[in-house]
């Protein structure tokens, strides 16, 4: 199955009668093109190429296999390694702990929609789930999350319930409110922000310090290009990113920027968004992601 998915990037390799330096270089070139088109960071593409180059011709060929298959395996392993391994991530949430999960990310990346998707996902697993709207900047942010919450019958806490427009106050009071009511999972939606908005980055740092969420999830748009690395770095510096959610993978974007986000945060991708509806959420599958990356 890996062979089918890697075919478009590796057509020539598979057609070659044997693998020599020239065939390997051509294979590496087509991998590089596929990764660049998939928005993988330019420098990361180069270092992946070097790793593949080092290993592909040096590794021993096990009996019954061809050099070709060794090369395919090396390519697959190097890419999957960047995602932290081929095992799907642990997406379990402990119950009875009032687990606070805070979503952060750039404007428009899909946080609010994702908050509702996660609430729906975990509610179906039997967790008592709640939503906190800590975005008081974006016009209609509360109404947006409230309409989604209403669809899945999950309670929401925002500026109306807190009697305050201060995101910090809302987050603290909201998490406390649901913890005391025995909720298992409390998802906090925050306003979009990017690394050059100083006051907004300071705000998320403060919210993180005062609320002390059990997990901070970075929501990344699959269409993001080379800036994924520096933006993820900045978020990680401000708040410790514990997990990643890649949205909009139902389009044509491959989400290669996420590889850099994983690399600089050490966090695993837990879920992907595959549509605008609340149920358009899937647990992350590294091998599927890699084969889609290679086109």
């Amino acid at each position: 199955r890996l062979r089918e998915s890697l075919t478009s990037a590796l057509r020539d390799l598979l057609k070659a009668p044997f693998v020599d330096k020239r065939v390997l270089e051509e294979t590496i070139r087509s991998i590089q093109r596929a990764l660049l088109i998939a928005d993988v960071n330019v420098h990361l593409v180069l270092s992946i190429s070097n790793r593949i180059r080092e290993r592909a011709l040096k590794e021993s060929v096990p009996p019954g296999f061809s050099r070709k298959e060794v090369v395919l395996r090396v390519i697959y392993e190097e890419l999957v390694k960047l995602l932290g391994g081929e095992e799907p991530p642990d997406i379990s949430i402990p119950t009875g702990k009032g687990y606070a999960l805070m979503l952060v990310g750039i404007q428009g990346s899909g946080k609010t929609t994702t908050a509702a998707k996660l609430a729906w996902f975990y509610k179906r697993k039997g967790l008592k789930t709640a939503l906190v709207c800590a975005d008081t900047y974006r016009p209609g942010a509360y109404e947006q999350l409230a309409q989604l919450a209403d669809k899945i019958n999950v309670p929401i806490y925002g500026y109306k319930e807190a009697g305050s427009k201060d995101p910090l106050k809302i987050s603290i009071k909201g998490v406390k409110f649901f913890k005391e009511k025995g909720y298992d999972l409390i998802i906090v939606d925050t306003a979009g922000r990017h690394k050059d908005e100083k006051s907004l980055m300071n705000e998320i740092m403060e919210i993180n310090e005062k609320v002390r969420p059990d997990e901070v999830m970075l929501v990344i748009d699959a269409t993001i290009g080379q800036q994924a690395k520096t933006q993820a770095e900045a978020f990680h510096k401000a708040v410790k990113v514990g997990s990643i959610f890649i949205t909009k993978l139902d389009g044509t974007a491959k989400g290669g920027g996420a590889l850099s986000a994983v690399a600089v945060t050490g966090a695993k991708v837990k879920f992907i968004g595959v549509g605008e509806k609340i149920e358009d959420i899937e647990p992350f599958n590294p091998p599927n992601f890699v084969s889609r990356l290679l086109g």
Binding site: R138, E143, Q231, E276
Partner: protein, 282 residues
Amino acid sequence: VELNEKNLEPLLNELLFKLLESDVALSVAEEVIDEVKNDLLGKRVERGREKIEVLVRDSLKKALMAMLDKKPRPDLISLAKAAKGDPLVVLFLGPNGHGKTTTIAKLAYHLLKNGISVVLACSDTFRAGAEEQLEIHAKRLGVKVIKHRYGADPAAVAYDAVIHAKSKGISVVLIDTAGRMQTNKNLMEELRKIARVVKPDLKILVVDALTGNDAVEQATVFDREVGVDAIILTKADADARGGAALSISKVLNKPVIYIGTGQAYEDLLPFDPEWFIKRVLA
């Protein structure tokens, strides 16, 4: 010395990297570098790497300028003033979350500051909170927004807005649509229907400056399926090099007319090709 593939290659590779790091799509970056190479091959130049470098950079600047400096550049203010009688109808389209609604609010602000009346149409009848979001902008700006209930026909909302503008003598209708993936056939048809019903004077594609290679896919299909007259690039303030501006300009042969530089109403600037070229070659 005569410029040939061998002495140009290291410099061209360096520039290719710069373009890729600035989010210029791979196919577009390669075409640009090829143009520069063909422009310079065979030229005689004084010896020395610096001399060749200057020539290569100038050739690149020239190529980029030609791609970005598309004329005519539709200017909403002059188009609105020129449209005697009938309102200027502008349709906004683009991928999810890239900034259409906020950009419409900014443009409305810009038009109002120039003494031009505006009405907004909320043809996003799908997304949660879409109507409330545009309604709040409309209130802040002091303009009317035409909206129906959620789930209503987006084309009907747009139509009502144009009728309203005609009857009230309002100069410009800005139509907001739901974000969508260009791969969704039904949603592309929905946009075509809105366009058939109100015959917009301008169809504007709104794209995030942080977008990578997918910008080419998005632009190509939106243009093919619905038609794009101009582009607005948003979130240029997010340290985006904005290579998507080049990719889309080149692929559609249409101009980028504004860039969004923040979330406030004033954060909308006319697109300046020099700005982009400076950032890319930084």
